[in-house]
């Protein structure tokens, strides 16, 4: 007879993560609301750098993904893992280090991103010291999780735990590879990869951040909490196993669908598209499995707000995982890419799948660990309807706006001219949609605030059972045959480390096939002789462009469509980007593409840029671009030039040896030249040659120049 052991579950750590989830949920969505408002009323940045759309957008995305959903993951994992393993977490100390470390990272993000400390890779914006902190905290989480699994009392690893394991190992790989960088100072670095290579690594990373941060851990939570809430086992455990292996294997390949019609090699684009289409199968397998778990319990969905939240969450998962593969088809991607369609798509996922599941779990979990009842079921129902309506009001206007804008971009007159040659016309047309989107955000956030109020009232009147008593038979040291035939999967199910290695191998295969051909070849992109490294002033200007987050609204990647080449000039070639660290292709055009801004018919005078930066509406009435007046007020910091040149040379940019010693002299000469031009064009600002704006102008005037020189030489 196996001995029954007594122990306690740690609910205190679950409670902490739950509170953090609610707090950062409100903060992240509030920042989202502010920037959504700024697209309607650009003056709402009050001419303050840290309140400007382009700097706040990464704060919003990072807060929602890593702070709100991140804490949601940890809340759910710490609750379910202990119970599935019939064991307390491996170490209370590690649990707390994990919790406080993660919060510290979030606070560091909030203290750096609005102040322009960013690497600009989407969802990987944080500067290198924070990247290291994330690695450390992730390792702590891993030790704690695997320690718990290893000291478990339950023989089998339920499918939710596999999802947690795959999440941990994949996020570790993604985070490290994406953030290989060479520091130039305490808060600045250049990435190891540049141009096309970096683009591939970036979207391999970012797509899989969606896959392995927003999806697989939440699927684990779905497989645990949905049966709990419905009080019946998952519809098909068999299906969940196929779902798991197929999903983690296919997901890792799909990243290049973010780069369709760009300068990425065709083979990589096709790879991304094919695997994205295949993703429908496991994704919908999972969705169907979730929904059918409620078979025979649909009557309860009418009364139980928790089940309502979960049903809408899983439905939203199904919708976005249908939409995603469709958007990966090249011809359809031509429509959605760079438009607000993408924004609508991600919000169906974030607000629907992640948001609704998080609150479904919170409503289920908090009353349990506080051993009480939910304060108000009616209020939870109100929250549910506000959330559902909020998503609709958010997404529909943006789908509409996205398609409208695309149709305007591509419309030609019978004579073959663009009907809307001025990009701004296609923006002002959809500003009413941006206003409606704000309404959707307000509705959703109101629901969240009501939900948090409801949950705080629930916990406020009760005491958390910090240490919940439990008992279970000790782990069987010598497995006793139970009459069930043994097979390979029950073998792997009992061996978490083998499961870890299996998952790692599977995701590495996809990652390697995608990335290695690009890394292996020294000469991976056709060189263009006329493409030269940036001058020191342009380099500093480029880093200001990065700091201000211009890439959030301006792409630098012209696709090979006539309606794009007609508007912006020749389509982009991979060889143009070899010195671009970071690459700045962007993924959304709230403003026009800037790849050829310094050349051809798009070229503007220096004074145009000067005035446009200080007040965009003075040049383009109706523009929703924020004003950047501080660029003309703040002195350019040239003390960093040498370190930057040094770092770039180490990474392969061919600056001559010793150039860093004289780089600032070249910088001053070029700045003087621009200042002189500005003066000649009527901009009379004393000492303008020392201001940041001059560097920014130098960079903008360089865009597209090299490739044009090549074209002229060929002629």
């Amino acid at each position: 007879m196996t001995q029954v052991e007594q122990f306690h579950y740690d609910n205190k750590i679950v409670k902490k993560f739950a509170y953090a989830t609610m707090l950062w949920g409100i903060v992240g969505m509030l920042v989202g609301l502010i920037i959504a408002l700024q697209l309607v009323f650009p003056s709402l940045n009050f001419d303050l750098p840290f309140l400007t759309f382009s700097r706040l957008r990464p704060l919003h995305t990072n807060a929602v993904i890593f702070a709100f959903v991140g804490n949601g993951i940890f809340m759910g994992v710490y609750y379910s893992l202990q119970r599935l393993m019939k064991a307390r977490m491996f170490s209370d100390l590690l649990s707390n280090l994990h919790f406080w470390g993660w919060q510290l990272i979030i606070v560091s993000a909030a203290a750096t991103l609005p102040f322009g400390f960013t690497t600009s890779g989407e969802y990987a914006e944080l500067v290198w010291p924070i990247d290291i902190a994330i690695t450390l905290v992730w390792v702590i989480f891993g030790i704690n999780m695997f320690g718990t699994i290893l000291k478990r009392r339950e023989e089998h690893l339920y499918v939710a735990v596999w999802f947690y394991i795959a999440t941990w190992v994949t996020v570790a790989v993604l985070h490290i590879v994406r953030n290989l960088e060479l520091p130039t100072s305490g808060l600045h670095s250049y990435g190891v990869f540049s141009g096309v290579q970096e683009a591939l690594v970036q979207w391999w990373y970012a797509h899989n951040a969606v896959a392995f941060f927003l999806t697989t851990p939440y699927l684990g939570l779905m497989y645990y909490f949905m049966p709990k809430a419905a009080n019946r086992p998952v519809y098909s455990y068999r299906l969940s196993i196929v779902h798991f292996w197929a999903l983690i294997f296919i997901y890792i390949w799909a990243g290049p669908h973010h780069l369709l019609y760009t300068s990425l090699p065709d083979w990589a684009q096709s790879l991304g598209m094919v695997f994205s289409l295949m993703l429908i199968a496991p994704s919908w397998g999972g969705m169907i499995n979730g929904l059918l778990t409620l078979r025979g319990a649909w009557d309860r969905v009418r009364q139980d707000p928790i089940l309502k939240f979960m049903v809408v969450a899983v439905t939203a998962y199904g919708m976005s995982t249908f939409e995603g593969p469709m958007m990966s088809i090249k011809s359809f991607n031509a429509v959605t890419h760079y438009t607000d369609w993408t924004i609508a798509h991600v919000h169906v996922g974030a607000l629907g799948w992640n948001g609704m599941l998080t609150f479904g779990i919170l409503y289920w979990l908090l009353p349990r660990i506080f051993n009480t009842k939910l304060y108000s079921t009616n209020l939870a129902n109100v929250h549910f309807w506000l959330a559902t309506l909020g998503i609709i009001f958010y997404a529909v206007p943006l789908y509409w706006g996205g398609v409208t804008q695309f149709l305007m971009w591509r419309e030609f007159t019978p004579d073959g001219f663009l009907v809307y040659p001025n990009f701004l016309e296609t923006v002002t047309q959809i500003v009413p949609m941006y206003a409606l989107r704000v309404l959707g955000g307000v509705i959703y956030l109101t629901g969240v605030i009501l939900g948090v109020y409801n949950l705080l009232k629930t916990t406020g009147s009760a005491k958390c059972v910090d240490n919940e008593f439990a008992e279970a038979p000790a782990f069987p040291q010598h497995h006793v045959e139970t009459g069930v035939k043994k097979h390979w999967h029950s073998w792997i199910e009992r061996r978490p480390m083998q499961m870890l290695v299996g998952s790692l191998v599977l995701i590495l295969i996809g990652g390697m096939v995608e990335l290695f051909p690009m890394w292996w070849i020294d000469d991976n992109v056709p060189k263009i002789a006329s493409v030269k490294p940036y001058t020191p002033l342009e380099l500093q200007g480029r880093d200001i462009y990065v700091r201000e987050g211009c890439v959030g609204c301006h792409s630098q990647m012209i696709r090979p469509f006539r309606f794009e080449t007609e508007r912006y000039g020749d389509y982009s070639k991979s060889g143009e980007f070899i010195y671009d660290r970071p690459f700045l292709w962007g993924s959304k055009r709230t403003g026009p593409d800037l790849a050829r801004e310094g050349t051809g018919k798009l070229k503007k005078s220096d004074s145009w840029h000067y005035n446009h930066m200080i007040d965009p509406t003075s040049i383009s009435p109706g523009s929703i671009m924020p004003a950047y007046p501080w660029l003309a007020e703040d002195d350019l910091d040239i003390s960093t030039t040498a370190a930057k040149i040094n770092a770039l040379r180490k990474l392969g940019t061919p600056y001559d040896a010793g150039y860093e010693q004289i780089a600032n002299e070249d910088l001053a000469v070029q700045a003087q030249r621009i200042a002189k031009t500005l003066k000649a064009e009527g901009v009379d600002q004393a000492g303008v040659e020392k201001k940041e704006i001059v560097a920014m102008i130098a960079y903008l005037q360089r865009l597209g120049v090299d490739i044009t020189l090549q074209a002229q030489a060929e002629k």
């Binding site: 379910s80 119970r83 599935l84 019939k86 339950e154 089998h156 339920y158 939710a160 497989y223 645990y224 049966p227 709990k228 009080n231 019946r232 086992p233 998952v234 455990y237 068999r238 299906l239 196993i241 196929v242 292996w245 197929a246 294997f249 090699p265 065709d266 083979w267 439990a470 069930v484 035939k485 097979h487 390979w488 999967h489 029950s490 199910e493 599977l506 295969i509 996809g510 390697m512 096939v513 290695f516 051909p517 690009m518 292996w520 070849i521 000469d523 991976n524 056709p526 991979s574």
Partner: protein, 53 residues
């Protein structure tokens, strides 16, 4: 562009082939496994979340 990259990369066909073979193997083995499981085992594991309190 496609050909250029692949030629420069050397012989990487084995990569694509290996990936394809692995992919199909996982599906075939996985599907074969789930279809041949005894019901009592599947029921037992699928009830794990419900039996943990």
């Amino acid at each position: 562009m496609f050909k250029y990259i692949l030629q420069e990369a050397g012989d990487i066909n084995w990569m694509a082939t290996t990936a394809l073979v692995l992919f199909f193997s996982i599906f075939v083995i996985g599907s074969g496994w789930v279809l041949t499981r005894k019901k009592d085992y599947v029921d037992k594991v699928s009830r794990l979340p419900l039996d943990d309190e």
